[in-house]
Symmetry: C2
Subunit: 234 residues, 2 copies
């Protein structure tokens, strides 16, 4: 019997990489995102332009009910994200803030909610924050969305947060990941300070399949220095 995983953000760089690895290991993958992932067994496609948080939430739950047909997920991994510069003076400040909330916070909210409906008892929920979040004057929308995700995680990981009994829950806090999109966006950066995508993908897979034990209720800060990647439980 195949294990079932949701990759929320399955059309992003990290999401695509995860789906390839889970597929290779015969997991049945449902990808959720604003674009379909052709490798995934199932796709749920949402629209940030046309669908509110609530409408997306209902769609995700209904479609996953149909896909599961009475079964449950072993794991729900939210790796949806995005990045956008923007200080307060920028003409489109509100537009970028809105876009970051939709790309970063809303998927985390829906993935968390989905876990109360369609995650197996003892299943695994993972969210994605960011390393070393402090004030972000130059990219405010991004920062507020990540701050909200950190708060969401700390709240659902608390007693009485509403997660199903025995859920394994953690968040990763990665620094910059070495993805094709990031290389395109920052071609002059020192890539040896970025987290190798394959290494991060494998790590998440190992938390999911039980090779690594999940640091229950914790965020794990992930940084790379001169090609060496470290994982620190916070």
């Amino acid at each position: 019997m195949a294990h079932r995983v949701v990759i929320y953000g399955g059309s992003g760089n990290l999401g695509r990489s995860l789906i390839t690895l889970f597929n290779k290991n015969n997991w049945e993958v449902t990808s959720i995102g604003t674009r379909p992932n052709e490798e995934a067994a199932h796709n749920i496609v949402v629209s940030n332009k046309e669908e509110s948080l609530e409408v997306q939430g209902k769609k995700v739950i209904q479609n996953s009910n149909s896909i599961l047909n009475g079964e449950k997920y072993d794991a729900i991994l939210c790796v949806a994200g995005g990045f956008c510069m923007g200080d307060l003076a920028k003409e489109d400040f509100l537009e970028t803030a809105d876009s970051m909330i939709k790309k970063i916070l809303n998927p985390s909210l829906i993935a968390s909610k989905l876990s109360t409906v369609n995650l197996k008892e003892g299943g695994f929920l993972m969210l994605t924050g960011v390393a070393d979040l402090q004030s972000t004057p130059g990219f405010i929308g991004y920062g507020i969305a990540k701050a909200a995700v950190h708060h969401l995680f700390n709240s659902i990981a608390s007693k009485n947060g509403g997660l199903p009994k025995n859920t394994k829950v953690m968040a990763i806090q990665p620094a910059t990941i070495d993805t094709p999109d990031n290389r395109k966006g920052m071609p002059d950066a020192d890539f040896s300070q970025w987290i190798p995508l394959d290494l991060l993908t494998r790590r998440i897979f190992e938390y999911t399949n039980g090779t690594l034990s999940v640091p229950q209720g914790k965020m794990v800060k992930i940084t790379t220095k001169n090609g060496e990647t470290s994982f620190v439980e916070l």
Copy 2:
């Protein structure tokens, strides 16, 4: 020449109280909120149901341009808010999260943006956070929205956050305020541990009119213990 102030959240308990006091002192008040405030000289009414963050932002800026007719505001005070219980398991979790973002975070974003367009040089911008914000498993939507406001404040109060030069900026972090709505919602609470509404209103007025100097770039935690209210700069 009258001083001009925006009260964002002018139909809430604190907003109404502020508008009464500013009016008494001959300030020209523009109220922004989901309902009009009949005492205010000017009203800009937005709809959380029908208008997105962007649409509300454009409306607020356009309407305030018309009201000001070339003048500028002396102060923009955002005291919009709301409260809603809701852990992850609650049926309408996503709905309440969405509502808290719209009532708490979006007004703070728009008020901040408005200050880059229509605040006088050396004018005053104030946002409203909350005291002692930690994980909020029982009211997650409220918590994530306030966490985002704190992050927004820290970012715009930083160098290069995009505020106009010489803007005075601070945030209040009040604990529970002794308002009619809160007494109705929590009739059995010990009101001597709540912040007296009149006292808080006067304090905000004094920051605004210069009687008290603004703690530049700081949040001020406000709590009341046995009838004694303290203001602590963080």
